[in-house]
Symmetry: C2
Subunit: 372 residues, 2 copies
């Protein structure tokens, strides 16, 4: 443990003792390895029943929640379709109440057994205060969603950008366990990014996270739903593809109910050889390759993970997109940064939200306090 | 000290004892403040004579060097014009030899009194190995400049990207002393960036630094001297302005000897109302504002420092450029990231190189070894 974390054996012993005293860790009998010189290494395991937490992913069309134990094992999950429009905080509170009631019913547990809630949504979230500065899900700017959830459920609530949540899921449970520096780029309703530097989630100097989707890839470019022009998101996200779909699909497009159905149709047409449909995905892929190349030039990560619902559209990570990304990075003779595709569903995002809560609960027990 | 560094008092005491034992720090008599409870705080000062180091900035037209003591005080400096073309390692070694000889003569010191050399140049530098993977100053890729300098002078040599050097100068001696997270963007022959995160220079996961100048701001855009298209540098750097200058200045341009003279003429013409000259600077300013906005979206620094020779051209940081930068950042109701202009000369860059050497000498003395 100490080797991987880069902390001294002494610090690890002190920390372990505190976690054992708090009931979070316990020594495992009969598992100590053959001793060399000095004190033999001690095998420790997380005490799964120490605490339960809830992790929630809020999104446009469906909210998802998991109940996990302190070892991160998912005990139950629940999801709930929601109307696809901008909501008030009161709407969200009601929807989350219903979701949590369903989750606890599935697990046959009560809210009194839960220690904390982690929740994530897209937009500009101030992790330190729980304020939602801007989100496509909400009807106003600057809403105190974290404090409102906290008051409603009487529990500590930790709020974060949904891309950060997914990055925590990779760091705790996924490909990130073996890497100290990696980036997770999410393509869903929008384009998000989480970055791990030195084994820690990097949220920027003000704790609001990174906004890859709103980096500019074209001066005076395509209109973004943030109101500005030329954002990466305005070329790659669902709505960017959907608004050109009507042109490519002709009158058929008007019969399609949602952006998601329209994109599935567009994708099928592209596969069938519709040139207009192909050029929509091709352009999205080229701008994505530019955005990823910029991430490599600015963070030089060991790995980029592409994730999210849109990973079902392989045009976004076709070999030509990856080749274009490599061609846009300053050649230095080194191996190019590997890119992995992880088409996780919403449950994994919610699991990341539970990791946010577990991490905060541990910090609280160790006396570092928390900002909820 | 322990408060600002975020390390424990115990760790600080151990570290201080090691630095005192190595002769780098000493206790100052009569300066201890009024004692509260516990051990009184001890005033320490750096021992200036502990070591001398040389810091060097290599560049297209002029190499610059400083000799500093262990407190970072500059004892002497020297500079030397060089022919503006791509050089072999052997050329550079000869030029650096002459430069160091002049520097030591100015200081009336000998090379035997020097502990280490720090040096910086633009390009892709592997700080860990001293390899220059690519630089506009050198005639080939993948040259072991660090090891070659080390062999020539029989001293440890620490090589870095020149933007990182300037960032170290800000961190050690400048505006960065009061900030934990800031970015330094340099505009000279090229566009560079150094980023400090949590009081440390962030070099990316592979130690080669960040390449803001080669982030892409336009698909299939202007040709960059790296051979790719659409790099920020290809719109903002000297050569990008100079190649349009002939069009704006007409036949007069052919009489101008260097890019620098041509740019001065272009700037004077823009100030005098030449519309073509104005549009060159205006476009450079707009792309710079886009590049800076992307830095804010991805790092959210507390401060951006613009530095370098081109800061004499105020079109690059005119109020309209700053306003455009702010308009390209996702609005979140917070104060915009402040931008400061520091038009440092080459001496400050060289001083940053000396900070690189001082830092490495300290690490070596503390037994962390060094990679030269």
């Amino acid at each position: 443990m100490t080797r991987n974390l880069g902390i001294s054996a002494g610090s690890a012993t002190t920390l372990s003792a505190e976690l054992i005293a708090a009931g979070f860790l316990r020594e495992v009998e009969g598992l100590t390895r053959e001793a060399g010189r000095g004190r033999p290494p001690v095998a420790l395991e997380v005490v799964p029943d120490a605490r339960l937490v809830i992790g929630i992913k809020l999104s446009d069309a469906l909210h998802t929640a998991v109940l996990t134990d302190f070892a991160g094992t998912v005990l139950a999950n629940a999801s709930q379709p929601t109307p696809d429009h901008r909501k008030s905080v009161e709407n969200i509170l009601t929807e989350v109440s219903d979701l949590i009631a369903a989750l606890l019913a599935n697990a046959d547990r009560s809210l009194s057994e839960v220690s904390a809630i982690g929740a994530g949504l897209s937009g500009l979230i101030d992790h330190n205060t729980g304020m939602v500065l801007w989100s496509p899900l909400l009807d106003q700017r600057d809403l105190p969603l974290g404090p409102a959830l906290q008051q409603r459920f009487g529990l500590p609530v930790f709020l974060d950008n949904d891309a950060n949540m997914l990055t925590l899921a990779e760091l705790w449970f996924g490909a990130g366990r073996a890497r100290s520096d990696f980036a997770v780029v999410t393509i869903e309703e929008g384009v998000g990014m989480g970055v791990v530097l030195g084994n820690r989630l990097f949220r920027g100097s003000r704790g609001i996270g990174l906004e890859l989707g709103h980096t500019k890839v074209q001066l005076d470019g395509a209109l973004c739903r943030c109101g500005q022009r030329g954002c990466l998101e305005a070329y790659v996200a669902d709505y960017a593809l959907a608004r050109e779909a009507a042109t490519a699909l002709g009158r058929n497009a008007h019969n399609l109910q949602s952006a998601s159905v329209m994109l599935d149709k567009l994708f099928a047409q592209a596969k069938a050889g519709n040139v207009s449909a192909r050029t929509i995905f091709r352009r999205a892929g080229r701008y994505l390759s530019l955005g990823l190349a910029n991430v490599v030039q600015l963070f030089d990560p060991e790995l980029i993970i592409l994730s999210g619902e849109r990973m079902q559209y392989d045009y976004l990570y076709a070999e030509e997109v990856m080749a274009e990304m490599r061609a846009l990075i300053l050649a230095d003779g080194r191996e190019p940064c590997p890119v992995e595709i992880h088409a996780w569903g919403d449950l994994v995002w919610a699991r990341g939200a539970s990791a946010l809560a577990l991490s905060a609960v541990t910090d609280m027990a160790l006396g570092e306090g928390w900002a909820g």
